[in-house]
């Protein structure tokens, strides 16, 4: 493609000077972006092996920061919470999103309005979502109080202040915020199913439910995997929502990895351990993303060979 300009016969250096603005415009932003990603990752990984506390210092402590983070109660609770929150949130938002997509796919009136309603929470910040749900779920002023005021004295809904259930309030708020995303992708998938396949199934005598179950839903697998990966990516790095909704409480019952990282880095000034926790988060993320990347690679190869 570059031989198109070879008709120009200027000395190479003056050509370079003439094209300097172009090189700058292409390379400076891309290099800044690439360089910050690589150097920041390497630097954080390096710090995680140093005895840094208040300020970064050189030195080598091997895996000591990692073992101390992994042994801390804070991290263990955060990790357990992540497993529970991650799986519950992803599964429930998949089910909700798929159900909404199937319902919207039934040629119903007002589809556009309904779709906008299911998607608007995505435009709102996690801070706003967390704040609003912290009011609704607060037994003293929210849903429980309303039920009591209406005369249902035995009604109990105190998950927000209940150590065992508080993590579920984050699940609820996260589903409210982002199941619309799953819906949007599933709906796009449903709409792109080949009409002929559906007709063929109907001619074979399959009812609407059977058609869905046997013919349409199986085509949604690739979308499902994409949705799962993106939602997991959100779950692993969830911070704002928890900060606004429970701030990790009651106690440290709703601690999540991102909160542990922040706490170590900026509240306890344990830079080495904070960096180690951040690297652990990255490893958890890679455990999700690498299989996904491999799957995508295989899919693409099959697509090009087909």
């Amino acid at each position: 493609m570059s031989n198109a300009v070879s008709t120009a016969t200027r000395p190479a250096t003056s050509d370079m000077v003439r094209r300097l603005p172009e090189y700058l415009m292409i390379w400076v932003p891309l290099l800044l972006s690439a360089a910050h990603l690589i150097s920041f990752s390497i630097w954080t990984i390096w710090i995680s092996f140093t005895p840094s506390t208040l300020i970064p210092v050189s030195g080598w402590v091997g895996l000591r920061n990692y073992t101390s983070v992994l042994a801390s109660r804070n991290w263990q609770i955060a990790f357990d919470n992540l497993l529970l929150f991650g799986s519950a949130f992803v599964l429930l938002s998949l089910i909700t999103g798929l159900l909404l997509a199937i319902l919207l796919d039934q040629r119903i009136r007002g589809e556009n309005v309904l779709r906008s309603i299911f998607l608007y929470p995505l435009a709102v910040s996690f801070v706003v979502t967390g704040t609003v749900w912290s009011w609704l779920l607060n037994p003293g002023i929210g849903i429980e109080k309303l039920a009591h005021d209406l005369g249902w004295a035995s009604f109990h809904f105190d998950w927000l202040v209940n150590r065992d259930m508080a993590i579920w309030t984050i699940v609820i708020a996260a589903i409210w915020q982002s199941s619309g995303f799953a819906m949007a992708l599933f709906l796009a998938g449903l709409r792109s199913v080949d009409a002929d396949i559906i007709k063929a199934a109907q001619i074979d005598g399959a009812g609407p439910i059977r058609t869905y179950w046997r013919v349409i839903l199986p085509t949604l697998w690739p979308i499902t995997i994409t949705v799962v990966v993106i939602q997991l990516q959100f779950a692993i790095s969830a911070f704002d929502l928890v900060r606004a909704l429970t701030n990790g409480g009651p106690g440290i019952a709703t601690q999540l990895p991102a909160l542990v990282v922040y706490d170590l880095m900026f509240q306890r000034s344990q830079l080495g351990r904070g960096a180690a926790a951040a690297v652990l988060m990255l490893l958890i993320l890679l455990a999700v993303l690498l299989p996904y990347a491999a799957w995508r690679y295989v899919q693409r190869r099959q697509a090009t060979h087909a």
């Binding site: 891309l30 150097s39 970064p56 299911f118 709102v124 910040s125 704040t131 988060m281």
Partner: protein, 285 residues
């Protein structure tokens, strides 16, 4: 098609969909209603209720009256901060992303695939891996606790998204268009200005909406790199809830929440179609 409007299954579908819609709308409705109730009225009952009389004063207080920490200027300075961070960072990252996206997809240069691959890794690298380095970079260049510092961060980090969006859009433009223009002697910028940019409005709208929404709603960097009067509105909302936890003013707080959420909600209402395209474009990375 036979008329199935009154079949029981249709009624069930409408019923379920309506219930879901009500559940999704409920939090917004509750906050809007609360923003119009007095603090006393809410304190007597619950957060969920109909205003007895409309307390518009909540909005005035939320906008410029109530106190966060020692300053009593309402949410206005923080809204201004968010605007001063979001608008420049959105413009810079979109413009640079469009040029870079054009360069890697149509202009082509040695190493383009490599650098593009690395840049898009930014979609996956957790913020936590960049928190400490940004802290020291901002400190070294004197931008810690400044709005410019956040503009810089969001511009550089936003590039991962904007380059991806624009590149994926531009690869569909026929390459012959560019080759022909190059033979005619048109340079990099001329082709961008004359050929690429006029074709770009859909993707630029998607990118601007995506960037604006994300930067406006961002919290972690805002709360880490700025304090007090320099904070964006998301961080200020958290500071506000903490500051008045002892004597809650839920009416005023609700008004503040509505004001803080309004810019992105308005953008969503006006450009919903493009908003959804951004979501799905980001998903098919």
């Amino acid at each position: 098609m036979r008329d199935r409007a009154f079949a029981p299954s249709r009624i069930l579908i409408y019923l379920v969909v309506t219930l879901f819609a009500a559940a999704y709308l409920a939090p917004l409705v509750v906050v809007v209603l609360n923003s119009l109730r007095t603090n006393e009225e809410i304190a007597q009952g619950s957060m969920i209720g109909w205003p007895k009389h409309l307390a518009w004063g909540n909005y005035a207080l939320a906008w410029s009256g109530f106190c966060v920490a020692e300053t009593c200027a309402g949410i206005r300075p923080y809204m201004l901060n968010s605007a001063l961070i979001t608008i420049p960072a959105t413009i810079f990252s979109t413009l640079l992303g469009a040029i870079a996206g054009y360069a890697v997809s149509l202009w082509r240069f040695r190493g383009d695939n490599w650098i593009y691959g690395i840049v898009t890794l930014g979609l996956f690298l957790p913020q936590q891996m960049r928190l400490l380095p940004w802290t020291f970079v901002l400190r070294d260049i004197g931008l810690i606790n400044t709005l410019s510092g956040l503009v810089l961060i969001h511009t550089i980090q936003g590039l991962s998204f904007t380059v991806l969006f624009c590149r994926n859009y531009y690869v569909a433009i026929p390459h012959e268009l560019i080759s022909a223009a190059r033979i005619d002697g048109a340079g990099f910028f001329r082709i961008f200005w004359r050929i690429i940019l006029p074709l770009s409005s859909p993707i630029l709208i998607v990118t601007v909406i995506w960037q604006f929404t994300h930067i406006w709603n961002e919290f972690l960097y805002g709360v880490t790199f700025t304090t007090g009067q320099q904070q964006p509105v998301t961080a200020a909302l958290i500071a506000l809830s903490a500051a008045i936890a002892d004597i809650p003013q839920h009416g005023v707080q609700s008004a503040a929440v509505i004001i803080a959420a309004l810019p992105t909600l308005l953008i969503y209402l006006l450009g919903g179609r493009y908003f959804v395209r951004g979501l799905t474009a980001g998903a098919v990375k």
